[in-house]
Symmetry: C2
Subunit: 109 residues, 2 copies
Amino acid sequence: MGISKTEHFTERQNELATLAKALGHPARIAIIDFLLKTESCICGDIVNELPLAQPTVSQHLKELKNAGIIKGSIEGNAICYCINEVTWNKFKAFLESLFETYNLKNNCC
Amino acid sequence: MGISKTEHFTERQNELATLAKALGHPARIAIIDFLLKTESCICGDIVNELPLAQPTVSQHLKELKNAGIIKGSIEGNAICYCINEVTWNKFKAFLESLFETYNLKNNCC
DNA sequence: ATATTATATCGTAATATTGCAATATACAAA
DNA sequence: TTTGTATATTGCAATATTACGATATAATAT
């Protein structure tokens, strides 16, 4: 139906899926790349970095913000976006835990 | 338009987005969790583990397979699924690289 | 006050995703 | 060969996503 049955899964599974989904578009990866690369907040420079129209970029930023991956604060005329360290660290912890679980002995096919 | 303009992004950005998107559903996280937890391939036991109908599970498995995250092989009556270690390690490397870039000095908002 | 600049929101079209019943396929067991 | 079991595919309805032009909002500069 296009709507996920989130109530049947654990909170961790839902959270991790939400974060992964938010990163599931190249434009949003590019935004995160840029935020990480510049090593500071981005104040009014994202649209020029992406090959997409301004409303589209705004929408992608909104999705990253909804997932809690970035946060924005108004700086006069512009808006400064940066990584939300709380969510980012949570995401990192989720994944490190997943990666820890895996070792090559798993393979039997 | 519902169609991503992948041609404007780097191959890495597209690949990482594809992998993240494939993990962007709690059922698919649950499948991966189960594959990692059992520490071996799963031969005919996935549908019973998930609160979804068999065709829906089959579809999620297909998406994970399309993204290269899992692979399946026919074992008589059943099908054995397991993590595709090549893709998984690539995913891990992508993310470790992302996480390395980030440090708390980034924050200014 | 008016123009400029940066960003968000609205509206809409195209496409994708999610979910499942019904059905098909393919092997195994009787 | 028929029956059962496991999985995939098809078809469809509901919903979500992607993209962008038009427009709105809000601060800055003139």
